[in-house]
Amino acid sequence: MLLDFDKLGGLRTALIALVALVCLFLILPIVFIAALSFGSSQWLIFPPPSWTFRWYQDLFADPRWLYSALTSLKIAAIVTVLSVVIGFLAALGLNRGRFPGRDFLRALFLTPMILPVVVLAVALYALFLKLGLAGTTLAFIIAHLLIALPFSIISIGNALEGFDRSVEDAAILCGASPWEARLRVTVPAVSHGIFGAAVFSFLASWDEVVLAIFMASPTLQTLPVKIWSTLRQDLTPVIAAASTLLIAFTILLMIVAALFRKGRKA
């Protein structure tokens, strides 16, 4: 009864109303920011008195925004590649290996994802200060790799669970070397897991704020650090413009991911 959509009766109306409200609650702030980024009010009055592209012009006129976006892109791209490669190897090892402590290792690999990121940020900051790496691109890459890797291990690990290993063995029996078999048989078979790993690793780095705040230097900032430091000063509509571009980018990424899933099903 309670789990039959058509037999809920009056309760159904109430539940639908609540879901509609929650959807509004989730989507309105996003729509609101996009609208404000085109509004002419410096004080973010809504509805805006008139419409303008001024904040976008301001955004692109300041080279520090573009530079921080490029820095973010570069770091996220490197992190994605490293995370997928190291994550694939680790997932393969966890999937194939039969050794004591395997479950412990799996849990250990996933801990950076569940620990409060501020603890990791402070700890890494201290280490990088000692090593003289603070404020370098390498520091960013290592920090982001730590939180991206669990996503890769989970995503590729799940795909490997569903892959019949005897197919790889058959390729080896047919004369392929183990690595040839892996690259030409296993990797294509788990490509959806690898794609998922790449998307999540990229987003984990691209959107990451807390580690980035500690890794940043006055000359090396990612986009979230730039937004953060601007936000601490005032609520300028330029941030609305930057946020809107980020939202557009997110929607694009969702569409790509959805198309990829559709392509696999077909």
Partner: protein, 283 residues
């Protein structure tokens, strides 16, 4: 015979899978375990060996406020997320797919949107001259604008917004896995709607509720960005305290001590989760 030899060859070729784990292992060891341990060691060594950092942290009313703030906000956010998220997950689990797809797309869009963009949106919406205050005044519900930012109300609203998807998505899975026939049977046996809910549906989804609540609570305890931006300096939470000790005060001893407290609470709660709500153990 040939096949046996060949599978034997495959087996020998397979050996040494442990090596695959090495890059990840080295990364975790050098850049995760070592720095976290170093930080914790500093908490008992700086400025001088002893537990005085912990005595100060756990013994002063200033820091007690921070702990209270943290646990209160995390508790309220968890409660509100579950109370709102449960009915949403319930309907999502049973509604026709063409509708649930749209709702899911909205949830995922909000989840994937940059955290700072979302927090910024709430800073603007909740300010004194913001849309929320204007709407409430327009409706005649309040005469004066409410103070909704730079306090824990703002933090709670902003964090509930962020945590809601983390409750809805797993709960949806749990409710989907419940066999509708069980509820039909309960109804056939004469249970009313309320009884069906309290005595069948809710107990069956309790493991999911508990797991979701624990996850949101733990995530909220260690949250940094939203409290820092929506809470203002007067209403600090634990993660901000850790950052402040290190960044502004350059007091690594106290920073390490606060980090350890956060770490211990988090790990203890995860241990509870693994012990009692681990789906892999079938509980």
């Amino acid at each position: 015979m040939a096949v046996t030899v060949a599978t034997g060859a495959v087996k020998t070729k397979r050996e040494g899978t442990f090596g695959y784990l090495l890059p990840a292992l080295l990364l975790i060891a050098f850049f995760f375990i070592v720095p976290v341990l170093m930080l914790l060691v500093r908490s008992v060594l700086e400025p001088e060996p002893g537990l005085q950092n912990y005595a100060v942290l756990l013994g002063s009313t200033t820091y007690l406020r921070v702990f209270l703030n943290t646990f209160m906000v995390a508790g309220v956010v968890t409660l509100v997320s579950i109370v709102i998220g449960y009915p949403v997950a319930w309907l999502l689990a049973i509604m026709p797919e063409r509708w649930s797809r749209i709702v899911l797309a909205i949830i995922i869009l909000s989840m994937w949107t940059n955290l700072l963009a979302r927090t910024y949106a709430w800073m603007v919406l909740l300010q004194r001259t913001g849309v929320v205050n204007k709407t409430l005044m327009g409706l005649g519900l309040i005469d004066q604008p409410l103070a909704l930012v730079n306090n824990l109300v703002g933090v709670t609203i902003g964090m509930t917004y962020i945590m809601l998807p983390f409750v809805i998505l797993p709960l949806m899975g749990v409710i989907r896995a419940i066999d509708p026939a069980i509820l039909r049977a309960a109804a056939l046996c004469g249970a009313g709607r309320l009884q069906c809910f309290w005595r069948v549906l809710l107990p069956l989804s309790l493991p999911g509720i508990a797991a979701g609540a624990l996850m949101v609570f733990v995530m909220s305890l260690g949250y940094f960005v939203t409290p820092a931006l929506l809470g203002g300096t007067a209403n600090m939470m634990l993660a901000e305290l850790v950052a402040q000790f290190v960044q502004s005060l350059v007091n690594w001893g106290m920073g390490g001590a606060a980090a350890l407290v956060l770490l211990v609470v988090t790990l203890a709660l995860y241990a509870v989760q693994l012990r009692y709500f681990n789906p892999a153990r079938g509980t």
